[in-house]
Symmetry: D2
Subunit: 351 residues, 4 copies
């Protein structure tokens, strides 16, 4: 991971800034108020109520956790039976970039091909049907739930029709469908911008459980896990504690989501990232750059020749994505809730 | 867990306030600065350097984690061999109040009797010697490390001589000695106040690994784990990730400890809690209350009759500790870095 | 573990001989018959039917496993929820002599005091009631099932009244009751001999799951696990495979139990051990030896002075049990299904 | 799993017969001899010595376990660091047919493409090199050992050159190389027959650990694990116990391998299977059948049209392998140490 240089422009990731000022202000103002521990406080309850409204899911159970990998492993470990694995795209975060955290809980990740980071309902159907058609299936890992991310690791989005198709397969085999929303505010802002037709209410309706990402979407840290079907695992808080994942001062999480869900701030935060990313994508296209993957959200994955890459690296921090050929590399620019237009303009100038 | 009432006095715990204002101010001031992730930033490095100096342990490895149970399970799981268990007092946090988090990592907690929350070096020696004297020891759990807390769960403290005696036994059997310092600022303030002779440098010298508690000692959250003998487990950050315990914005932890270790702020924070607790203990003694356990730190565990308890509960939030007899209950008052003299005075008045 | 000497008498354990000849004969006669794998064969089904009849439990599910620790960990891991632990006597095999196999599956062993190796229903009730009375119980390990052994590790036996009392407590808290019958044939032979009033049908009626020991009771190896309440965990065979505990040639287990449950052979095998143990106990009492623990079954735990112990060790193999004082040691003589009267007579002579 | 019918021919698998008569005879003859437990006996030592000689590896550590999946998970769990996974062919037994037993120990299986069931040294090199070239590798699962099977799951064999090439890559990255020899006698018989150039001594020299299969090669059950480089994991027997994998009567395993390694019996047992399989393969080729995969060992995987398959199923038990197209299926005939020429002749006639 390249270290930032304070004087350089930075488009490395969307978790490089601490938090939106309104969160920090509220934290400062309430610093000496005393709250009960472990999320049993009134602020957590208030945030949960706002989330239930935003999701149009009045019965949802909301539980706050600190980070994304932690949330993924808690959901997967607690919702699978011990003999089950989770189905995910080969490019899914749980399959590649979590240091084996899912396997560490004892569960296999069963992979499907990725199509721009997404899985296909037909291929999911074939995988599960094929499993049960095998006379020896009791000697194999049962497909026990489906993991998707939205936006995906490539910044792409599921349409409502695609999610409905996955839902239908999941219903057929009684598989819970889990959506990793680490960057959900950017997806929702894309829907707001007309680039996607999937709403927060759709997500709550079509999945069994999903999480609303805070870490990459304006919070200091934190993810809000939403169980949509009265399906929160029994004694979930004990299991959270057992995994070492319980925050003593649970209200710190509640306070952040209570702020983010004030007056649609969560979507507005995403819109800034989308708007600045679009400006950048447009400029890149006009300058003749090719994209490795085209996506409507805040990640821009573009192919540069290696000489250009070296030049850029002197002035801008970005992420290496992958080697394309001997002379070309795919690199990623990430905008965020905090990205300033001036910085994007400077980046475009440099490019 | 009793819910606080905003208008009532609260002495429930030492993690009821968010954080010391100097931490929140610094967070606000730097909210939009961009930092690299996962603790690879300059602030984490700066804090680690301050901690090494404070510990007089120039080679120490410092790693920041979010919470106490998480830190305990990471240390124990990563430093034990799979066939080993951790030795702890029967009253130790890892033995009782972590929802089986240690066993969940596959390791048994081997218990010793507690003496005011502490373990005895002679009894530790007997346990380990007895293990190896048993002809069938390969069918049993090997004692693989020793866990102590300082202050203990009862607020008591180890003396330097007691810690040296434990060290000697650990050396004899090559057992790493781990000290849980969830409330370490209160212990260090006690040493400053002359109630204990164990310094931070002693702790670094006599243990193999320990942690400096942030959550209960002025930070929003966070614990600084210190490996004192060039003994940080290989690829520790991968293992942290694998346990779901890695904070993406690692510098948030560094920033808090960098602030806490400015000009001895960490000890000063503890001193406020000790001073106010002493005022309370003195008043209680004068009023004829009996203590369940006498301790010099910020926890005050006192015996009240049940009628009195009910009266108190209307005006003050405190913790239930244990039933003493049919008519008496032990309850706990906790002071903290943020406790105000006025509140203690009001509590004394009520008592 | 002391190595046997072929010429010496051996009373070390009850798993020192291979198997009852009728089992080996049947194995030899059928060596080249072809059977389907994994216990799906007709012999396993036949043995299960015989066991169901012997237990007077027509709906029981029977599953064969290879060894005792394996059986204990499979039952406990598969019947507990992840946040639960198993309650056992402090002297229970799962608590002491299984190398932490239970904790290795992630579950804590919650111990009760042992009374001649047994647990007390009142103390069990107090433990569970105390757990739920603690306001912080969600931060602790839930008591999730009860483990007992019959005969116990000391050779003692539960009476029907004692087992009924445990059952009542288990019913109150909906805890499954599990009975480890590693040496069950010796318990059943004791009932036959009038030393105990607990029958196999009682055990099936009063427990949720138990196992009929083969390894120590005439089989080459193997234990028959009996789920008595239509409560075999879902996809149990997949979980057995996942633990590496599935025997490819499952019918080898079925064949042994099918033989052992022919014409009460299982109880007759136990009777030989009981009869020879009683002869030994009587002779020891007459010679003035004191017993550490008096038990009606095939283990005889007797106190000898250390000089005598050394003399004995030249002629007889036995087990060290524990040091009694500086000059005395408790040692154990074990008889088995294969013990010959001539050997017991020689042992008595030597004593 | 299709159930055998006693009157039908059976070529379902190579673990359908109990054991070679010489093993059962020896078991019967020694049934009442008393042995110390847990493999500490003289027979286990004798067998280990014979194995060391056969392997030309005088320092090898030999440990006996009951079954194949158990052996695989013990080796992989005990030889990997917690942050490491095992590299295997996508068709490897550990990747597909062990019900997730490897992931259940916390380790990911990192797959390589299979080439007739084998992995390619160049592709292994690329996988490991690519891992370390990724700047984020600490967030991913480290490749920690290499698993191969010989014969593979398809009955194919590694040549000496292929194994040396894998060894070279393993040396470059310090990866232990593990060979699963569930059907090793059939591989060794192929070498004897001139179809392969890899000897038992080569295997011991080129791998770090491998196992000599008993279950499928004439034993009742059991696998002999051979650590060739003074690299048996510390306290391995405690870890075996902890996994529930320890056989109390360890000598039962020793006795079987002591018999199998008498006068090359282990290779002779394989030769019968190879000879009868060759007869079958030759006849099939002459009759114009196509093979899905050609292999020199005891598995014959042949393509039949579905009408033929249905006819065959009335007279012969075989295994379903995979659907080839709408009208054709690949089925498997397995010969074994016990296959009779008369049965093969009848099968050929039927075909």
């Amino acid at each position: 991971m390249s270290r930032d240089n304070a004087e350089k422009l930075s488009f490395v990731n969307d978790y490089c800034e601490a938090a939106h000022p309104s969160i920090l202000n509220r934290l400062s103002e309430t610093a000496l108020e005393k709250n009960p521990g472990y999320g049993t406080d009134a602020i957590c309850a208030s945030a949960a109520e706002k989330i239930r409204k935003a999701c149009e899911c009045p019965d949802a159970d909301v539980y706050y956790l600190v980070g994304g990998t932690q949330t993924n492993l808690m959901v997967i470990d607690c919702m699978l039976q011990p003999y089950e694995g989770v189905v995910a795209a080969a490019s899914g975060h749980v399959a590649v970039h979590e240091a084996g955290a899912i396997e560490f809980t004892g569960h296999k990740v069963l992979t499907l091909p990725e199509h721009l980071g997404k899985i296909d309902a037909g291929e999911l159907d074939a995988l599960v049907a094929g499993f049960y058609a095998d006379g020896n299936y009791e000697h194999m890992v049962f497909p026990g739930m489906v993991y998707i991310s939205h936006p995906t690791e490539y910044g792409t989005l599921y349409s409502r029709a695609e999610l409905e198709a996955l839902r239908e397969v999941c219903d057929r085999y009684r598989l819970p469908l889990y959506l990793d929303g680490a960057r959900l505010s950017y997806a929702l802002a894309s829907t707001e911008a007309g680039d996607c037709d999937l709403t927060l209410a759709d997500i709550a309706r079509l999945t069994d459980v999903f999480y609303i990402g805070g870490t990459k979407c304006g919070a200091l840290f934190g993810e809000a896990l939403v169980f949509t079907k009265n399906n929160m695992p029994a004694h979930f808080c004990t299991r959270v504690k057992q995994h070492g994942a319980m925050l003593a001062k649970g209200w710190l999480l509640g306070l952040q989501f209570d702020t983010l869900f004030n007056n649609d701030m969560y979507v507005r935060i995403g819109s800034n990232a989308i708007r600045t990313a679009k400006k950048l994508k447009k400029a890149l296209a006009e300058k003749g750059y090719r994209f490795l993957i085209e996506s409507p959200t805040n990640q821009t994955i573009v192919i540069v020749d290696n000489k250009k890459k070296a030049e850029l690296a002197e002035k801008v921090n970005f992420s290496f994505w992958e080697n394309v050929d001997e002379n070309h590399t795919a690199i990623r620019f990430c905008t965020s809730w905090g990205t300033k237009d001036a910085d994007v303009d400077r980046l475009i100038e440099i490019l």
